[in-house]
Structures are given as C-alpha cells and as structure tokens.
Amino acid sequence: MIGLNHYLILSGLLFAIGLVGVVRRKNLLMLFFATEVMLNAANVAFAAVSHYYGDLTGQMFAFFIIAVAASEVAVGLGLLIVLYKKHGSLDLDGLSTMKG
C-alpha cells in the first residue's frame, strides 16, 4: 500500500535531483530546468498531502505554484535573452561582476 511517506520521499528525491542540477550546472538555462524540477517535486508533495488528509488546500497551493512557475519562466527567459544579447553566452561563471 502506498502511503503519504512514499510520496514525500519521492518528492524529496526529486527535490535533491533539482538541487544537484542547480548547484552543479553552469548553463543558466539548465538552472531554469533544474528549478522546474524542484518546483514539481514540491507540487507532488502538496498533492499527496492534499490527498491523504482529504484537504483541498494542498491542491490550491500546487495550483498557485504552477502559476508562479509560469510567470517565472516568462520573466526569467526574457532576462536570459537580454543577458545573452549582452554577453553572448549563458555561462554562469562569466557572471562575476559582483566579485568583492
């Protein structure tokens, strides 16, 4: 029988995969992909909690997360395009103007 913990652990694993992507990859577009993975991991957890407690709040949150993710992609990709126009590359290591 699949319980809540199964879903939560799956969600945790997916989140960790996304995190590894965020930390490891240097291509900005890949960072976006990894962020999507992490957001989806959270969505799974929400949906599972919603299901197992019979409460719709979790689904609502998942719903809003999807909305936020869509906005993020729109704005983020716009920024990426500007960045690419300026630097001609999407390499994260090239962005070190904040060096202290």
Binding site: G12, L29, I66, V73, V75, L77
Partner: protein
C-alpha cells in the same frame, strides 16, 4: 495493486527523466526529458485524484512552459555546448545526497501531531474539478485574482525584455564584437 505498480513505474520514470534533465550535456536532451518528466508528474496527480491539477500540469507545464523554453532556445545557439567546469562535482553529489537523505529522514519520521484537521475538506459527491472550483472561487478568490495579475505582469515583462532590439541579430560573430564594443562603452 495497480496503484503500487503505477506509483513505482512513474517514480522510476520521473527520477530517471529528471536525472537526464539535470545531468545531460545536451540542452535539447535536457529539455525533452524535462517535458517527459512533467508528463509523468501529471500521472501522479491523476493517481492522487487531483484530476484538475493533472490537467493544469499538462496544459501549463508541458504545453505552455515547454513551448516557451523551446522558443527561447531559438535565440541561443543550442547546438553549441557550454563547456562547464565541474572541478568539485564529487562533493556536490555528496551534498545532494545528504539533502535527500535528510529529507527522507524528516519525511519518514513519525508525525506526532495527532489532530490534523482538514481546513477545506473535499466536498462529498462532487468531482475534483467541481470542488477545486468551489474552493478556488470562494476561499482563494483574492489570491487567484492576484495570481492573474501576476501572470499579466510577467507576460508584459517577458515581452518587453525579450522584444527590445528584436530586429538586431546578436548571434553572428560581427555582432558579438560590436556588442562588446558597445558594452565597453557602456561601462565607461
């Protein structure tokens, strides 16, 4: 039984696809596997009885967001791989593994709080989209409207950011040099 089979099948597929997403060197492979992973995620939603959410996942993520990524990638030279320096990837995996382990420990720990009560319980007799609609347009009406405004703002922002000097092609070698000159002048 079917539920277990479905869960494990989807789990394995999702994890595998997302791993490909994260680890692949080729941007196109990553994006494709991400889209496929999204579809698998929607499978979980259907198993969990969140039909509406599953549909939204398919439409928004797999349909809209992925299409957006695909269009965005047209601006970038997707065939040109970025050479990534990953000197210390070993300990990054260690870190990721540790975080995963911690999350597993946290989630598998017994829940002590006994009286967790549903704030907005599922409405008996109503289908999932119906009850989602009821809650969304009553209790969550204001956040819903705010989300709508946010999407509008994001859309306008995306258009403006991406649409600036859209006529200039900045991907050819000459133009890159020119841009660098411009940016140097900007810095001055």
């Amino acid at each position: 039984m079917y539920e277990q089979v479905a869960f494990y099948l989807f789990s394995v597929l999702t994890i595998g696809l997302f791993l490909v997403t994260v680890l692949s060197k080729n941007l196109l492979y990553s994006m494709t596997s991400l889209a496929a992973g999204m579809v698998m995620i929607s499978g979980f939603f259907f198993i969990l009885g969140a039909d509406f959410l599953g549909v939204v996942q398919l439409i928004v993520y797999v349909g809209a967001v992925m299409a957006l990524y695909a269009f965005a990638m047209m601006f970038f030279d997707a065939t040109r791989d970025i050479k990534e320096k990953n000197a210390n990837s070993g300990w990054i995996f260690l870190l990721g593994g540790m975080i995963a382990l911690m999350l597993v420990i946290v989630f598998s720990a017994p829940i002590f709080s006994e009286n967790i009560q549903a704030i907005y319980p599922s409405i008996p007799g109503a289908t999932n989209p119906q009850s989602v609609g009821l809650v969304l347009f009553t209790k969550y009406l204001v956040p819903f409207e705010v989300a709508a405004v946010m999407l509008l703002v994001a859309m306008i922002a995306g258009i403006i950011l991406a649409g600036k000097k859209m006529d200039q092609s900045l991907t050819t070698e000459d133009d890159i040099v020119k841009t660098e000159v411009i940016s140097q002048e900007d810095e001055k």
